[in-house]
Amino acid sequence: MELSKIERLLKKYDEGNASLAEEKLLRDYFLNEDVPEHLESYRLMFIFSAREAREKFEEKPKVQPARNWYAWTSIAAILIVGLGIFFFNDSSRELNQNDLGTISDEELALQKTKETLNMVSQFMNEGKSDLVYLKEFNKTKNQIIEIDN
């Protein structure tokens, strides 16, 4: 390409008025041909731009690190709730089994029930005997407050 044409294109290039096609002509010229010394600065600029375009993004783009975290948290939560329900059911079943009646003979059952009730009332009486001193309160109260009929 004649130098005059190159220089005309360079003027447009400097003003930011060259089209992409014209800039490609310039690039091809400066990257491949012998360049006169007064245009050396342009040559370096075109080499620079070409080299800069070689830089690559080497990493693999990652897209969802946050989402995985949520997934694992929900899995853990489900496990905890699930296990909790399982164990709760289990222990209540054990309790029910112990509660089931084991005496099949009716006489014996009556006997046992009586024994148990006796025992309960005995304890009740023992507990009540401790409450005797409450009467003292009543005595004192009656001394202070006179109830007129």
Binding site: G16, S41, M45, A53, K62, V63
Partner: protein, 169 residues
């Protein structure tokens, strides 16, 4: 939208997003993080993505905005001055070493440009976008883009020539 579909859409754009982030944030680590964050933001808005006619431009805008926010937070202030590595895949000849040197200089010159000029330069000269697309990405009008680009190109070249003359004169 499924994850694989999304990644297929993002795949051709992710290098451009990364380079944009690198241009603005300078540090490779910061640029990688920014790209990852921008992709995540796009994924979170995947429901709306169908409404955007040009996903690539939208992805670049998201990247741009994220990087500018990062710069505002001043988190990257200590990493501003460039330490880009220009790998050469052939045996370094004398001329090659000289070019590498020049490239490092150019990287530093571009790093001193205002953010807006940096981005426009990146989008046009490195990624070769049409003005219309750049206008969409930058959320500016085309005339303003052309002016910013013209300033960036002239500033880079002037600095380069100044540096050269300094060595000679």
């Amino acid at each position: 939208m499924k994850e694989t579909t999304f990644l297929n859409i993002i795949d051709p754009v992710k290098d451009k997003m990364y380079r944009m982030a690198l241009r603005l944030l300078t540090s490779k680590e910061a640029a990688e993080d920014a790209t990852q964050e921008a992709i995540l933001k796009l994924w979170n808005r995947k429901g709306k993505i169908k409404h955007y006619a040009n996903i690539e431009a939208f992805a670049m805008t998201v990247t741009k905005n994220y990087c500018l926010d990062q710069l505002k937070l001043k988190q990257n202030n200590n990493l501003r001055i460039g330490h880009q590595n220009y790998e050469s895949n052939s045996i370094p000849l004398q001329s090659e070493i000289e070019v590498n040197d020049e490239m490092e200089w150019l990287g530093r010159i571009v790093a001193t440009l205002p953010e807006q000029q940096k981005m426009v330069f990146q989008l046009r000269d490195v990624e070769q976008y049409e003005y219309k697309e750049i206008a969409k990405i930058m959320e500016m009008n085309e005339t303003a883009i052309r002016v910013a680009l013209s300033r960036a190109r002239k500033a880079i070249r002037e600095n380069l020539i100044k540096k050269h003359n300094y060595g000679i004169k």
